[in-house]
């Protein structure tokens, strides 16, 4: 379980959120500039809160007054907006970058599941938007993270590719069974992907909604 309880002074407002998530797809939903990416970056360790705590299972990532756990030791997967694939490396080099020694075998099924096994020798600039997204997803999961953070992962895609990638994300979540924390400002996307939607506005968590299962038992 991930527990986040942080405060951080941002230029326009105070980010002040408290939530916890299980092995589910949780969407941080809200307008641009409301502090969603800062929350992801704080969990990843790329920025540090001013106070509070971040805890995954029994490990403190951040605890006020103590030295934060370095990014490298947090075992998180992070899918950046625009993917941040290394432009000077092939797809193979990109997805193997964070691979742990001796874990090569776990990569193969992942590659074929998302259908990028034919692209291994290509460079990022030779890929379409959807292919880049898949490569970035595999790269983030190849490190076998305890949690996957996704920052607007589908915003650069056209409608059709977007739908395909949404389905793929849900399939991968079932396979990996780890918390997926996803940032979006697209309502439709949030509704489709989320088990839980956290509404963020001006740095505050204004509501928390759990998705109602589509196939609820019928009352006769």
């Amino acid at each position: 379980m991930l527990t986040v309880d942080i405060k951080k002074r941002l230029p326009d407002f105070l980010l002040d959120v408290r939530f916890s998530i299980q092995q589910e797809v949780v969407v941080l939903f809200g307008p641009s500039g409301s502090g969603k990416t800062t929350i992801l970056n704080s969990i990843a360790g790329l920025v540090h809160p001013d106070s509070g705590q971040i805890k995954l299972h029994d490990q403190f990532f951040y605890e006020q007054g103590k030295k934060p756990l370095p990014v490298q030791k947090r075992n998180i997967g992070y899918l950046f907006q625009d993917y941040a694939l290394f432009p000077h490396m092939t797809v193979a080099q990109n997805v193997r970058y964070g691979l742990k020694e001796g874990h090569e075998l776990r990569l193969e099924p992942l590659l074929s599941t998302v259908g990028i096994d034919q692209l291994m020798q290509k460079y990022p600039h030779q890929l379409s938007g959807g292919q880049k997204q898949r490569v970035a997803l595999v790269r983030a999961l190849a490190t076998e993270p305890d949690i996957l953070l996704l920052d607007e992962p589908l915003s650069a895609l056209d409608a059709d590719t977007r739908r395909q990638c949404q389905d793929e994300l849900l399939r991968l979540h079932k396979m990996w069974n780890i918390p997926f924390l996803l940032v979006t400002h697209d309502r439709e996307e949030a509704d489709k992907l989320a088990d839980v939607i956290l509404m963020i506005e001006d740095g505050k968590l204004i509501s928390q909604k759990k998705k109602v299962p589509l196939l609820s038992p019928s009352i006769s």
Partner: protein, 228 residues
């Protein structure tokens, strides 16, 4: 008359090669450090790094003479501990060249590292890469075009260094007479043909270097732009 004594050319190449190798490493590490850290007095330190760029070479040479001379702090230290003499030696020429070309390498490297999108480095960190691995596998290759430009500029500057070299290494034929110093003393002695010969050589070297750099950076920028 064609000059047959090519010592100035060999010495110049030797000085430029040695100083550029040193400057490349020092400038790159200093730039990486400065672009990563924020600390009190950073701007003062940066101004100090760039000072040789705006000072007359004779002033740089005077400063080096004070520092590395027989009675200078570093001169005494090097002499007593390692038996190394700097003044009127090739080592002096290399040191002078390092100091005047350092700002060029430093500036190019700062621009190169600043131009690398931080998300690439952060992505590497989230995948568990150590800071050393982030540097070698991500920052260095992506900053390479700018680093190489700095390398070439520093080499050209080292090749043409005159004022500080003359102050620190002097003019000892066969020992410290690099091309620019040889030109000056040839003109002094009225040997205009000899001076012209070395002028043609150094202009060709400088022109060749900048032409190559222009061609290469256009090519690599095109490739890099495609990869982004």
């Amino acid at each position: 008359m064609i000059e047959t004594n090519l010592t100035p050319l060999l010495l110049s190449l030797k000085v430029a090669a040695l100083s550029t190798s040193l400057v490349f490493i020092l400038g790159m590490l200093a730039a990486r450090w400065m672009t990563q850290k924020d600390f009190w007095g950073k701007h003062v330190l940066e101004s100090l790094f760039l000072l040789p760029l705006v000072l007359p070479p004779t002033v740089v040479g005077f400063g080096l003479l004070m520092l590395f001379g027989k009675n200078g702090f570093l001169g005494q230290l090097l002499s007593e501990w390692f038996g190394i003499t700097v003044v009127f030696t090739l080592t002096g020429a290399v040191i002078a060249s390092v100091v005047v070309s350092f700002p060029l390498m430093y500036q190019s490297a700062v621009a190169a590292f600043t131009g690398v999108d931080r998300r690439f480095e952060n992505a590497a960190r989230t995948m568990g890469a150590s800071e050393w691995r982030v540097f070698w596998s991500v920052a260095f290759p992506l900053a390479w075009p700018g680093l190489l430009a700095g390398f070439v500029l520093s080499f050209a500057r080292g090749l043409g260094e005159f004022g500080a070299t003359l102050m620190l290494a002097g003019y000892i034929p066969g020992k410290t007479d690099t091309i620019p110093v040889a030109i000056y003393f040839a003109v002094e002695a009225g040997q205009m043909e000899k001076a012209l010969f070395w002028v043609v050589i150094i202009v060709s070297l400088g022109m060749g270097t900048t032409l190559w750099l222009n061609w290469w950076s256009r090519r690599s920028l095109r490739r890099y732009a495609n990869q982004k």
